[in-house]
């Protein structure tokens, strides 16, 4: 009998065992790619010139901006996962959403902390209640709310549905964060990379910024897949304990 091999489809990943096998193969390569991207990024950061106005503090941008991008990107990932939970009922969707929340909270904290370390010497204050900073703080609090929700509801399926609804409600905040600097007068600077007329940053500073953004994104993908693997194992442990309890 001839068995014809077909390419792996997205639906195949719905099988947790198949997903675990794929993650096991991908993780070492992703970790290596992340380390290489960070090594190149750090060299470029060290070689980057000081800004003519901000001096050496511009180097804070190389961690603040990638963390800020990831904070929003991770919420987008969670929103897609939320649709996967509510619409397609994909078995791995709420696993992806749950594990992304903790990583998203960490990067949002980093964005806020590095931002305030940049704000003090440049603006004269660690914090100001302007639209950009406040909307990012709201996102951080919503990340914490999601983590609390996951911890509170014991049944992962019920927790997944509730978290999916909260995630989609929270997605309203994403355009507010993005356009806050255009819609309101804020102390925070406007968009300087993704502009219709091209980036307003000099290439010597833009290059390390983009490499660091790539490194942070690879780090997120690596951590997220590893955390998803842990969550699948945790659910296996939970199922086995339930079986044990019912059998006793």
């Amino acid at each position: 009998m001839i068995v014809q091999k077909r390419p792996m489809a997205l639906i195949d990943l719905a099988n947790p065992s198949r997903f675990l096998a794929l993650v096991g193969r991908a993780l070492p390569w992703l970790a290596l790619a992340t380390a290489i991207a960070f090594a190149i990024g750090i060299v470029l950061v060290l070689m980057a010139p000081d800004d003519y106005q901000q001096g050496a503090t511009v180097k804070i941008m190389f961690v603040h901006v990638p963390a800020a991008w990831l904070a929003s990107l991770i919420w987008v990932v969670m929103s897609i996962a939320a649709l996967g939970t509510l619409v397609w009922r994909h078995p791995l969707a709420d696993v992806a959403a749950k594990t992304a929340a903790s990583i998203g909270a960490a990067f949002t904290f980093l964005c806020l902390f590095a931002g305030s370390m940049w704000g003090r010497p440049m603006w004269g204050t660690y914090w100001v209640w302007d639209a950009r900073l406040t909307s990012v703080l709201v996102m951080f609090l919503m990340y914490l709310g999601l983590i609390a929700l996951w911890q509170t509801v014991e049944d992962p399926t019920r927790a997944g549905r509730a978290a999916a609804i909260l995630t989609l409600v929270g997605a309203i905040n994403l355009p507010i964060i993005k356009f806050s600097v255009d819609w309101w007068n804020t102390l925070h600077q406007g968009t300087s990379v993704f502009r219709l007329d091209g980036p307003s940053i000099h290439p010597t500073i833009l290059a390390p910024l983009l490499v660091m953004a790539l490194a942070f994104t690879l780090l997120f993908v690596t951590l997220h897949l590893a955390a998803m693997r842990n969550e699948i194992l945790r659910r296996r442990v939970r199922t086995l304990r339930l079986l044990q309890a019912h059998g006793a």
Binding site: K59, M117, W118, L223
Partner: protein, 52 residues
């Protein structure tokens, strides 16, 4: 070599980044080891099941 102006703020930002990244890495590795340990323990007690 003299430190740049506002060096403390730059060091604090990068220091926090290193701490957060290392904490995340320790969290995923530690959690993986813990889940594998518990699964092996359950398996040793005969409470395992066949999974792909």
């Amino acid at each position: 070599m003299a430190l740049p102006a506002h060096a403390a703020f730059i060091i604090a930002a990068y220091g926090a980044t290193i701490v957060v990244v290392i904490a995340l890495i320790i969290w995923v590795i530690g959690d993986y080891r813990e889940q594998k340990r518990v699964l092996a323990e359950l398996d040793a007690r005969g409470i395992g099941r066949k999974t792909g």
